[in-house]
């Protein structure tokens, strides 16, 4: 492409980034407003809302709780999703389309409906509302995304490698863990980040399946009843910064691992 289109596209990218990030900048700013409601004009400023977030044990506890749920549900979704993707790729068998369709189903069901369906169903299965019920519902909701991403990557796996390994006498399990899985790692990391996002941001399922400990979105929703205050903005900002730090740390470590592997 010509230089002009390249510049144009970079402009579009940055314009889009601005569109995504400007509301966040405002959100952070509003956390410093010395009033009970967010909005313009800001007449006086305060640090109290931010200090309050760290002093509030419930917020910190809830952040940890949401993180734990995100990690565990993502881990389950990755295992199940990869398994299903491996099963469905490169094989033609009776009922494959049906299984694929059913696999993708949870991704397309409106939140409220799936949450209530899960709530009734959990009772039928005898699962108590609480952490594990939330993890279960998040994992189910995330499996389709893992399957989509992993299947896309699997379809580009050169078959010759697996065949060569099999010719050398490796059994399917070893072939999977030593050939297929390393090849899938980037896709699984991408899918994992995505799953964590979805779990972290989920309100309805956590609300209907949760017990007496709220997840972050549930806590924020409850606080909203007495108004969108700078407190909520401060909480969100702190959470954002914490997760960003975690994300950057993970990305850096990945790079180092890659470099080591390449050495």
């Amino acid at each position: 492409m010509t230089r002009h289109t390249r510049i144009l596209m970079s402009c579009i990218y940055w314009a889009f980034a601005l569109y995504l990030l400007l509301p966040l900048a405002l959100m952070m700013l509003m956390g410093f407003k010395d009033a009970r409601f967010i909005g313009f004009p800001i007449t006086s400023w305060t640090l109290d809302w931010y200090i309050g977030v760290f002093a509030d044990r419930q917020v910190m506890f809830t952040f940890g709780y949401s993180t734990l749920i995100a990690i565990l549900s993502t881990a389950i979704a990755l295992v199940v999703g990869t398994w299903i993707a491996v099963t469905l790729t490169g094989r033609a068998f009776f009922g494959r389309a049906v299984i694929l369709g059913l696999t993708l189903l949870p991704a397309v069901i409106p939140g409220v409906i799936s949450a209530i369906a899960f709530r009734i169903y959990a009772r039928v299965l005898g699962i108590e509302p609480g952490m594990w019920a939330i993890i279960w519902s998040h994992a189910v909701h995330n499996v389709p995304f893992v399957v989509l991403v992993v299947m896309a990557r699997l379809s580009t796996l050169p078959r010759s490698q697996a065949e060569a390994a099999r010719d050398l006498g490796a059994d399917p399990l070893v072939v999977f863990f030593r050939i297929t899985m390393p090849y899938l790692t980037p896709a699984m990391i991408g899918a994992g980040v995505f799953c964590m996002l979805l779990s972290f941001d989920d309100f309805v399922r956590s609300y209907f399946l949760g017990g007496y400990d709220p997840t972050l979105p549930v806590l924020i929703f409850a606080k909203l009843r007495s108004g969108m205050s700078p407190e909520v903005n401060a909480i969100s900002t702190v959470v954002l910064v914490l997760t960003a730090v975690l994300g950057i740390w993970a990305e850096r470590s990945m790079r180092r691992i890659k470099k080591q592997a390449n050495r």
Partner: protein
């Protein structure tokens, strides 16, 4: 590109690896011998778990919902007899008031999906083709940041930008472009801004991964054969990325049909969507689950049919290109 393990599994020369020791372990050999005895058995072992999972965890809740949609009342309450009925479905077809938000949702979702596609394609293209491979993840992460903040908080941030006294109106007034604030909020505009904000990611990811897979030398080869930039794009890049287009559009369309909080907060009197109608049966009234379940089923089926048809077209298109 593939990260090959440094040693092949049966490498006899190196020190004993974890895998080497594992495969030498007799119990493991006995087990794998049993499980992997024949390709047929291998297949059954592989497929057993997915089938159980999909049936129990994916299909179960939906069947439960469908069952509720055929009941006369749910949750069961004292003194009311529960019978099977199709009244909940006929209610939808019997009254035009439900069809308005229904069609509005479908049309709105299609328009928004296409808008998102047009907006996100250049972004994905830029990321996949013009950013150095090392930096791609970083550029992608930058766009992912907003998604770590809850939907509601983000929507309120959009509200204080678009409000009569919001950042945008203040800016326009300061620039002297307007005298009276423009009412952006509670219109199709504010709703679209909000929904694109929330769905863009679902379009970006599949597009990016499809574009990233296309080898750069295809385009160069076409250029060597004398194809201009637009020809190259429409004859080479676009067809090869159709798979990503299909996946992205399907996701965005289905998510847009099911959005709830965004239309409630950013929409106005003339933008009521079907998900709001459905939620009404569960929330405000609280006692009309069967109707809500029936309407959900109707919406689900319609959305799936639309998405299926769309994917069919994409498949046909890319099939023709492949020939």
């Amino acid at each position: 590109m593939p990260d090959l393990p440094p040693q092949s599994p049966a490498d006899p020369s190196g020190p004993p690896t974890f895998w080497g020791r594992l495969t030498a372990w007799s119990l493991y050999r006995a087990l794998t011998g049993l499980v992997f005895a024949s390709p047929r058995r291998q297949f059954w072992m592989l497929i057993l778990f997915p089938v159980i999972w999909v049936l129990v965890a994916h299909l179960g809740p939906i069947l439960q919902m469908m069952q509720v949609s055929f009941l006369s009342s749910y949750p069961p309450s004292a003194g009311k007899e529960v019978v099977l009925t199709t009244a909940n479905y006929s209610r939808f077809f019997g009254d035009s008031i439900f069809l308005v938000p229904f069609w509005r949702t479908m049309v709105f979702s299609v328009v928004l999906t296409l808008t998102t596609l047009v907006l996100m394609y250049p972004v994905a293209y830029f990321l996949a083709r013009h950013v150095r491979r090392d930096n791609q993840l970083l550029f992608l992460m930058l766009l992912l940041i907003p998604f770590w903040v809850g939907e509601i908080v983000r929507i309120y941030a959009v509200m204080i930008i678009l409000g009569n006294n919001g950042a945008l109106n203040l800016l326009l007034r300061w620039l002297g472009l307007i005298e009276r604030p423009i009412p952006f909020m509670y219109t199709n505009f504010s709703l679209s801004v909000g929904i694109v904000y929330l769905t863009a990611l679902y379009m970006l990811m599949p597009l990016y991964s499809a574009l990233e897979k296309i080898p750069a030398n295809y385009s160069e080869a076409a250029a060597d054969l004398g194809a201009g930039p637009w020809t190259r794009f429409f004859r080479v890049t676009l067809p090869l990325s159709l798979e990503g287009v299909g996946a992205g559009c399907t996701l965005v369309f289905l998510i847009a049909t099911g959005m709830y909080a965004t239309p409630v907060l950013l929409g106005g009197p003339n933008t009521t969507l079907f998900s709001q109608t459905i939620a009404g049966f569960f929330h405000v009234a609280g006692d009309q689950w069967p109707t809500g379940a029936a309407f959900s089923t109707i919406m689900l089926v319609t959305a799936l049919v639309v998405a299926g048809a769309f994917n069919r077209i994409i498949a046909l298109l890319s099939g023709r290109v492949a020939k």
